[in-house]
């Protein structure tokens, strides 16, 4: 097996990277693929929490790098989706705990074991974010339809084209925009950047549009990826479509919505 490595990145914080890593990872695994999701947010790990595995973390990424644990001991298999595994970040405050060599070794091991390795990047453009993107074949740039998020995404494009192993070998890293926390009502009222505007400005292909939805928060409260917690909800359908596009399927681009949203669109606007 030789996995494809995806980095989920954004520059800006809080746009939905961790939510996306969990949901895309689960969606691919639910479709029968062998998936590892890897938390690169050293010191601020959250992916374990979103996946509901926080009480099962014994060894983490740094333990594997430092040789205190084997990769197999550190991988946590999801209880609901058997083909989904998690490698948790360490809670150490030592930002240099992830070494470049160590990361390269672990990524190689993961590549041999899985079909997909999805790396949840920390925010920012520092070491952690650079290490997360370093070995990626594909970048999913999570962007909110908002001016500072788009600017930061553009910045990430530059880094992806310069600082990844692929870029250094003069190979093209595949880049996609995932528009998250999209609110169709607000976009229709012109309060939010339109999808076309974001795509034109970044000149990147669109992987999917994830609507703003309370189901995302519900899923994180429960500790399950949204595709597992509410499989038919609008964000879950959007993430599943995005996952199918990653596997090369052509899926018509829609913005899934809940009936509640439709109701809101028809009547909610006037009441406000």
């Amino acid at each position: 097996m030789v996995a494809k490595v995806i980095v989920v990145t954004s520059g800006k914080g809080g746009v939905g990277k961790t939510t996306t890593t969990a949901a895309l990872g689960a969606a691919l695994a639910q479709a029968g693929q062998n998936v590892a999701v890897v938390d690169f947010d050293v010191g601020l790990r959250n992916l374990d929490l979103i996946m509901g595995a926080e009480r099962r973390v014994v060894y983490d990424f740094v333990n594997v790098i430092q040789g205190n644990a084997k990769l197999n001991q550190a991988l946590i298999r999801d209880k609901r989706v058997g083909t989904l595994s998690l490698l948790a970040a360490s809670q150490t405050r030592d930002k240099d705990a992830l070494t470049e060599k160590g990361v390269a070794r672990v990524m190689k091991e993961l590549r041999d074991k899985f079909d997909w390795v999805i790396c949840d990047s920390p925010a920012g453009i520092e070491r952690g974010a650079l290490l997360a993107m370093r070995h990626a074949d594909i970048a999913v740039i999570v962007t909110n339809p908002e001016i500072s998020s788009v600017r930061d995404s553009d910045r990430m494009v530059g880094l992806l084209d310069a600082k990844t192993v692929k870029a250094e070998k003069d190979e093209e890293i595949e880049k996609h925009v995932l528009l998250a926390r999209y609110d169709p009502d607000r976009a229709a009222r012109g309060e939010m950047l339109a999808i076309d505007d974001v795509l034109e400005i970044l000149s990147l292909p669109l992987l999917g549009v994830i609507p703003e939805s309370r189901d995302v928060l519900k899923a994180s409260n429960l500790g399950a990826p949204v595709t597992v917690a509410s499989p038919v909800s609008a964000p879950a359908r959007a993430y599943k479509d995005a996952a199918r596009r990653l596997t090369g399927e052509t899926v018509t681009m829609t913005i899934p919505s809940d009936k509640r949203n439709l109701f809101g669109m028809l009547f909610g606007g006037r009441a406000a």
Binding site: E146, I147, D154, G158, M192, I201
Partner: protein, 92 residues
């Protein structure tokens, strides 16, 4: 802002303004980023060449790019030791 500008904005929302600001900003930032990358690379390579003959500190190499409308200039300012003890002859 003109009366029509205000009218247009209230109809279209603020997104078009955001879009315009972003386009201007990013076209600027993209050129600045590629230039500063070039400066970083040049600085490293110049330092490597000089260091073969003279001891220089990384911090004492100053490379600047000045971009004009018609011509751009590159200024390289390198501080070297006052004595030439640090000089390494070619055969060394």
């Amino acid at each position: 802002m003109s009366f029509f500008g205000m009218f247009k904005r209230s109809v279209q929302g603020t997104a078009p303004v955001a879009r315009e600001r972003l386009q201007v900003l990013l076209s600027h930032e993209r050129t600045v980023a590629s230039e500063s990358d070039l400066v970083v690379v040049l600085r490293e390579e110049i330092l490597a060449v000089i260091a073969r003959r003279v001891k220089v500190e990384f911090d004492n190499v100053d490379v600047r790019m000045n971009c004009g409308e018609v011509v751009s200039t590159l200024t390289v300012d390198i501080e070297i030791p006052a004595t030439l003890d640090a000089f390494t002859p070619a055969h060394a």
